[in-house]
Structure formats: structure tokens, C-alpha cells
Subunit: 305 residues, 2 copies
């Protein structure tokens, strides 16, 4: 069980030489996800050595260009690379029509299927589940329909307490699957050995919450409660709370308030406005109310074991 998050881009929309729009690569419990896909994401993937073929699921928060204008280029490249595996794209209603039209006029003939999962609910919903990971939406509040995403590892089976098990000659390998599943064991003399004696708690499932773009929205706190890692946009500092409100973005202070109220393990801020030359101010402002805060930077990797 592990979680590795690679920041591919973390700046707001205005293009600058050393600014890259939002995109992240998440490895969680051996699943590989791309989150948002601003223009130039495929180049950032090459730069930071993200394996193109590993990714089967792409999650787009909203349809502003700095979060999705790189999608069609990436899909087109998958065609050039002769991809054959299905790819799943999650995002707001409208993403399918626009993406398919762009691919069609480019005559990008692909051998793979693109399966779109268009979102429109204003409630948090389960949108992906397999045997390793589940993904829920985090409804956000921005100028257009927007979702964050909560990625959570599936609960693991209980772990065998081999020291205690070895005290019972009668208990053998044939029992292990049942014991991991939480069952008690009944010995031949009728004695019941409680599961709690035979197992130890598995590691807590890890979770990552991605929240961009959004105004300060405290009602997401119950959804992301106790997440191990939270990325929350901080386009502005508190000195421009007025502008954050107007443009439906957050300040670094507000991101920290969400992190504190949700009791997350670590906060990452990003989506910095181009008006700020000294990015470290975002860290300093958030740290006043939430200690464990980091800055997102292209190429930076956040790992939790």
C-alpha cells in the first residue's frame, strides 16, 4: 500500500515561461491516475518520466482551459503510440462532444476506445471502484461546474498474528483466508478462538483529496475528513480575499482552514496566481493555522507509505 503524487503543473491560467497549468499523476495502491490535463501536460509527463501506457483513467475537474486543453493532445498521442487499451475519461458534461469533435477534425484514428463518464451531480458520488481503489467526487464551487476527487484505497484484509497463531497446533494454512476475512476459529474441542487474538489490524487505507478550483467551501469538510493528503487550490493570499471571492477561488489561509477542519495529514497548496513572485508566501500564510503544509512545484513528488 502506498501513495505517490507527482505534480506536473500547478500554476493558474496565464501563460508564463516557467508556469505550467494544473495536472497531477497519482499512483495509489498500484492504480495510476491522471488528474486534470492543462495544455502541455503530455510534455510534462515525458519530463517527469510518467509512463503513458500505465494510465487508464483521467479525471478532469472542470472545463476551463488550464485544466483540460491538454487532453485532446494526449489522446491524439495515444493514437500515434498505437495504444489499444480502453481509456476512461471522467469530467463535466460537454467534455465528450468537444473532445470527439477535435479528434475527428484531426482525423486521429485510434485503435482504442475512449469511455467518457460525464458528471453533472451536485452531490458527492461514487464514480469508480475496483478491488484496489475507490473514487468519489467532491462537489466544488467555481465559476463553472467543478468537482474535486477523493481517491481512497480499499480496506485491506486483516493481517495474521503469526506469533499467536503458532500457539495453536491445530490452526494451519487452510484456515488463513478465513482468519484474514475476520472469522473466529472453532477448535476440535469446541473452544472458540476469537479473531482478535489471531490477527492484527491492517494498515489504514490511504486517501488523497484533490480540490481545484473552488471558492472556500466548508461543506466539503465531511467528505474529505481525515484524508492523508489534501491538495487544495490557493490562487491568492489573504490580502486579496476580495478577488478570491469574486473569481471563485481560495486564499492560502482558506485552504489551510479546510485542511484544519478536515483534520488531514498534510496539505499541498497550488494554482498560484501570476501576480505573486514569491511563492513561499503561500506556505507561510497557510502554516499559521495548519502546520503540515507544502508547496506544489512541477516535478515534486509527495509519497506516503
Amino acid at each position: 500500500m502506498s501513495l505517490n503524487l507527482t505534480i506536473l503543473g500547478c500554476h493558474s491560467a496565464t501563460p508564463r515561461v516557467n508556469a505550467f497549468p494544473t495536472s497531477q499523476y497519482l499512483e495509489i495502491n498500484n492504480r495510476h491516475f491522471l488528474i486534470d490535463c492543462g495544455e502541455g501536460t503530455q510534455r510534462q509527463m515525458r519530463k517527469y518520466k510518467v509512463g503513458f501506457s500505465k494510465i487508464n483513467h483521467i479525471f478532469i475537474s472542470h472545463l476551463h482551459g488550464d485544466h483540460f486543453y491538454g487532453l485532446v493532445g494526449l489522446l491524439s498521442t495515444y493514437g500515434i503510440l498505437n495504444r489499444e487499451k480502453d481509456i476512461h475519461v471522467f469530467g463535466p458534461v460537454g467534455i465528450k462532444k468537444a473532445t470527439l469533435l477535435m479528434l475527428k477534425i484531426s482525423q486521429s484514428h485510434a485503435k482504442f476506445n475512449i469511455i467518457f463518464h460525464e458528471l453533472s451531480s451536485s452531490e458527492s458520488e461514487l464514480i469508480f471502484e475496483d478491488d484496489k481503489v475507490i473514487v468519489r467526487t467532491i462537489p466544488l464551487h467555481h465559476r463553472v461546474y467543478t468537482n474535486g476527487y477523493l481517491f481512497t484505497e480499499k480496506e485491506k484484509p486483516r493481517k495474521l498474528n503469526m506469533l499467536n497463531i503458532s500457539g495453536y497446533q491445530e490452526i494451519g494454512k487452510a484456515d488463513f483466508l478465513n482468519i484474514k476475512a475476520g472469522k473466529d476459529v472453532i477448535l476440535s474441542n469446541g473452544e472458540v478462538v476469537r479473531n482478535a487474538e489471531l490477527t492484527i489490524d491492517p494498515k489504514k487505507p490511504l486517501s488523497y483529496a484533490f480540490c481545484s478550483d473552488t471558492s472556500y467551501k466548508p461543506d466539503i469538510v465531511p467528505i474529505i475528513k481525515n484524508a492523508d493528503l489534501l491538495y487544495h487550490e490557493a490562487t491568492f493570499l489573504a490580502d486579496r480575499t476580495d478577488l478570491a471571492k469574486k473569481t471563485k477561488h481560495s486564499t492560502s489561509f482558506e485552504a489551510a482552514q479546510i485542511a484544519k477542519d478536515a483534520n488531514v495529514g498534510e496539505l499541498i497548496v497550488g494554482h498560484y496566481s501570476g501576480r505573486y513572485k514569491d511563492i513561499s508566501l503561500f506556505q507561510k500564510e497557510a502554516a499559521k493555522i495548519f502546520k503540515n503544509v507544502s508547496l506544489s512545484e512541477p516535478g515534486k513528488v509527495f509519497s506516503i507509505d
Copy 2:
């Protein structure tokens, strides 16, 4: 009169860390044009200090992603920058619908008009003319409908030969406009002074031909004859002429053949396939039959006075 061409990107489609898809910035006779707009073009414009607001005309050769997936991002950025001036976009039929749909779902509300000039002719046609420059299409042959573009300075008025003029006391400033327009002067004694005596030839109008992407197509030679500068794609070397034919691209040898037959002043090759690690081979191959050949590289500027 001058011509400055800045290469913004010059590689073929497959993304690599140090590869940038086709885009060029052309200054010709005080007009400022963007030619093709692959993904990431706006970032390259920032890097090489191309003034966003100077550009009023964008010419797209064809709708493959590596030549136009950066267009919608650039137009969206013009909205963020509060552009108010019209912008003209020339390109194949289909470009308008796809671009407007992408901008619409992103809710990119712009104050400026985008005026699309959709092309579909297979003959060379005049598509732009003002008092400084004219632009003609160069019909190319690729897997999709494609045009190159020929940019030519307008003929300049004749220049005054002040040494000769000073020999005629009677000829003054009031006559200069007529003389520049090529008229003779009739003196008070009835003597006719021929214009050829009073003027010298103006500088030859400069021209730039952009040809990408295309298979070897000798029938473009009359259109680009005697151009001062020719960019011609060279995706492959002659060792892969088979692949060039199959994918409807050119070899460096073929680009040079076109340059030679058209008697251009200088050839620039580009659009190199990722399979070649040593780009200098493109220069060497072309130079065997056409001496004045250069390699395109991001940031390189070609100037003619």
C-alpha cells in the same frame, strides 16, 4: 522593409521533453503573423518574447494536432489578457466549429471577435492583402487537406534619385509623390524628364514561403519561385523515402530539390521525425544539392534586410 522569422517549434508530433510542435512567428514589412500553433505555442511565444498583442492574423496549415492544438489555448489567453482587437484565423474548413465549441464549453468569454477564414480550394488563392503584405495559399499534399502560405511584401514606390533631381531647379517637393509613382516630369520649357532619370529601383519585395506538411510536390515550384526564404518540411532522411511516401511527408533531399528548382534564396528544413537523434544529418543531406540550407531550431531567428 525587413523579414524576421522566429522558429517557435519545429518537431513532428510525438511528444518529447525537448521537442516542440510546429509554430513560427513572422514579422514582414511591419506585419506580425503566427503560422501554425501546435500545443504549447503560447508558452514558446513567452519564452522567445513574442508580443501577444502584435499578432492579428494566424495561419493554420492543416488540422493535425501538432499544427493546431495550441490555438484554442492561445485564443483563451487573449480573453484573459482582455484583448479587444479582432483576430483573424485562416485554416481548413472545420477549424471554426471545433474552436468555437472548445471556447464555449470553457466559458471563455472574450471581448474580441474571432474572424475565421475557412479554406477549401485546391488552387493557390489570394487570402490576405493590405497596403504592406499579400498572402497566398500554397496547396500541399498531405494525409489531410493542407495549405502552405506565401507571404510577400507589396511592391514599394520607386525611390527618388536626389542627385539627378538636384540638377533640375524646377523640380521640387510638390513633384515627389508623382515621381515616386513612376511619372515623368514636364518642365516649363516643354522638355520631358524621364522617370528613369529621377528615380532608382526600390528594393525587391521580400517573400517567405512556408510549406508544411507535404509529400514531395514539384507543382508548388512556380508558386514559390524566387522566394527569399523557404521553410520546407523534412520529416525523414532519404534512407526512409518509403516511409515519407507512405505518410505523405518529405525527405530532406526532396525539400532541397524543391528549393533548387524554385531558385529560392535560403532553405530552412524542419518537422524532424523523433527517430533521428542527429539533426545535423538533415542539413548535410539537403546541402548536397542546395547549398544555402539551415536547420530550424526553437528560438532561432532568420532575418533578411
